[in-house]
């Protein structure tokens, strides 16, 4: 089957974070106490081209336009723990952002995740599938120092029904034995867009990883009647990371400056050579 002149856009962004506490059995979409977006040093996530996709603000790591029906779009991410001191558990959940347009891509697309080749999730891009990634956090396993795993994501638009109700003069017709979407003047155009976040975060693997988040949430160190100044930490809670350092591009500016000077020198040499030749 072939669909012509359809425009679709599908985007996913990846966020990775860290928590210094261990928690399992997560049942809420919120990050657990202490999990903040931002990777610890030397915990890396790289895409196929070797680009880091782990900034605190997230990266568009899956972006497909002019999506073709039936075609599988895929992306690999290599998650690596390059630290020597801690092992990490990596968790994953999905946060839908928005969808728009005439084509319901949430309904029309199927999304699969594979961890080291083994399928771990199959469902829609917003996390509703063999389990609900918008409600549950998936444990991608423990990463010992030096360990790495490959997470593969595949998305395919496999439900043609989502364009049946597109009401802009389009219709599916059989042309030369193929189903073709055509508009009133054979120039069909329909649009669908969906955006979502696939959020990954890491947590240091500590022995009390079974601690229930709610138990820790309101527990205050029992000081009884002692008014001694507390020296303990904030009970495992870590405030969100509210910082960001933007690159100032000094290296590239300097390189441009050097290149400009070199070009200028070369042009002078060329001119001088021309002068000498004229003489």
């Amino acid at each position: 089957m072939k669909i012509k002149q359809l425009f679709t856009s599908i985007m996913g962004s990846l966020l990775i974070g860290i928590n210094a506490m261990g928690i399992t059995a997560l049942a809420e979409t919120s990050l657990p106490d202490g999990a903040v977006k931002g990777l610890p040093e030397r915990l890396a996530a790289l895409d196929d081209e070797g680009n880091a996709v782990n900034s605190a603000t997230g990266e568009y790591f899956f972006h497909v336009e002019d999506m073709q029906f039936g075609e599988v779009y895929s992306k690999n991410i290599q998650l690596m723990n390059l630290r020597e001191d801690h092992s990490y558990h990596i968790y994953f959940y999905v946060e839908p952002l928005f969808k728009a347009g005439e084509i319901d891509l949430e309904k029309g697309c199927e999304c699969s995740f594979f961890l080291d080749g083994e399928e771990i999730y199959r469902g829609d891009v917003n996390g509703k599938g063999n389990f609900d990634l918008s409600e549950q956090h998936f444990d991608c396993g423990n990463y010992e120092p030096g360990e790495s795993h490959v997470l593969r994501c595949e998305i395919v638009w496999n439900d043609i029904d989502v364009i049946q109700n597109v009401d802009n003069g389009h219709r599916l017709v059989d042309k030369d034995g193929e189903h073709v979407l055509v508009g009133p003047d054979d120039s069909g155009y329909a649009e669908g867009e969906i955006e979502f976040k696939w959020i990954f975060y890491a947590m240091v693997d500590v022995p009390d990883s079974q601690t229930d988040i709610d138990d820790r949430r309101n527990s205050v160190p029992d000081k009884q009647d002692s008014a001694a100044i507390p020296t303990s930490k904030a009970d495992g809670f870590f405030p969100p990371y509210t910082g960001a350092v933007l690159k100032n591009g000094t290296v590239w500016l300097a390189a441009m400056g050097v290149i400009t000077v070199m070009i200028a020198v070369l042009l002078v040499l060329i001119k001088k050579q021309k002068k000498d030749k004229d003489k």
Partner: protein
């Protein structure tokens, strides 16, 4: 021949220059521009939704007998997770405060709940129940080199800045409050100052002692004064960059007007 080589070098260098310009644009210029645009857009939105304090106070007095009156009603019409509006005169801090079910959503999304390039929107710690508890913590971004969100909180590191801007106003569902700032903390992220839910008096007293002992400086109040009565503390927290996971926290006392 030599001339040809020189021209080839010029072309190669020009290509390299274009590549550098592209990297500079992608890595340095564009993110800053996106952030500035997001900030400008959000400030325009704030201007549209900012509650008129004079009207709010007048209506509040008229409606004293009507406990259901909510001065944040208009704000909540725009964002149902609005819990307040904070203003510190003379600083850039004049923002709505929202509260989500986690401490991550408003790190990336603006007041309109749309992704805004990681600028976020000031938000109340999800563990707090409004501003009625003994400790309420509000977070917002401090992006290094940018004057957005809580960038001005880091300026309170200098006590002279506190002396110049010692007071703020906090509009909550219960009406207008005054916030008297008295301490600035430069602490690690796992500090006890981030503890909430202090139900016992002994815990509250211990917490106040901790604030005073870990503050860079204090002014205006003593620990004993704050231990009397039901003191409500407001902590404005953001990241600073003095050390790994450093936080700058401005602490004030909330007083109902």
């Amino acid at each position: 021949m030599k001339k040809l080589v020189l021209w080839a070098m010029v072309v190669i260098l020009a290509c390299a220059g274009i590549y550098c310009a592209k990297r500079y644009y992608d890595e340095a210029y564009l993110p800053r521009k996106q952030l500035k645009d997001a900030d400008k857009e959000q400030r325009e939105l704030f201007d549209r939704v900012r509650p008129d304090v004079s009207v709010t106070e007048a209506v509040s007095e008229e409606n004293e007998s009507q406990p259901e009156y909510d001065p944040l009603a208009d704000l909540k019409a725009e964002n149902d997770e609005s819990v307040g509006w904070l203003t510190i005169d003379g600083t850039g801090i004049d923002y709505p405060i929202v509260q989500a079910s986690d401490n991550s959503f408003y790190l990336q999304n603006g007041f309109d709940k749309q992704y805004n390039c990681g600028l976020g929107c000031p938000f109340l710690d999800y563990r707090c129940e409004g501003f009625g508890e003994s400790v309420s913590i509000v977070y917002a971004h401090h992006i290094q080199g940018e004057q957005a969100m809580f960038a001005d909180i880091a300026k309170y590191k200098e006590s002279s800045y506190m002396a110049a801007h010692p007071r703020g106003e906090l509009l909550t569902a219960d009406g207008m409050c005054e916030v008297d700032f008295f301490a600035y903390l430069n602490i690690p992220s796992d500090d006890y100052a981030y503890q909430v839910g202090l139900t016992k008096k002994s815990d509250r007293d211990g917490y106040i002692d901790h604030i005073f002992s870990s503050a860079s400086y204090t002014s205006g109040f003593t620990a004993d004064e704050l231990k009397r009565g039901d003191t409500r503390l407001l902590l404005l927290s953001t990241c600073t960059y003095e050390f790994w996971e450093a936080r700058g926290v401005l602490v004030g006392v909330i007083k109902q007007k």
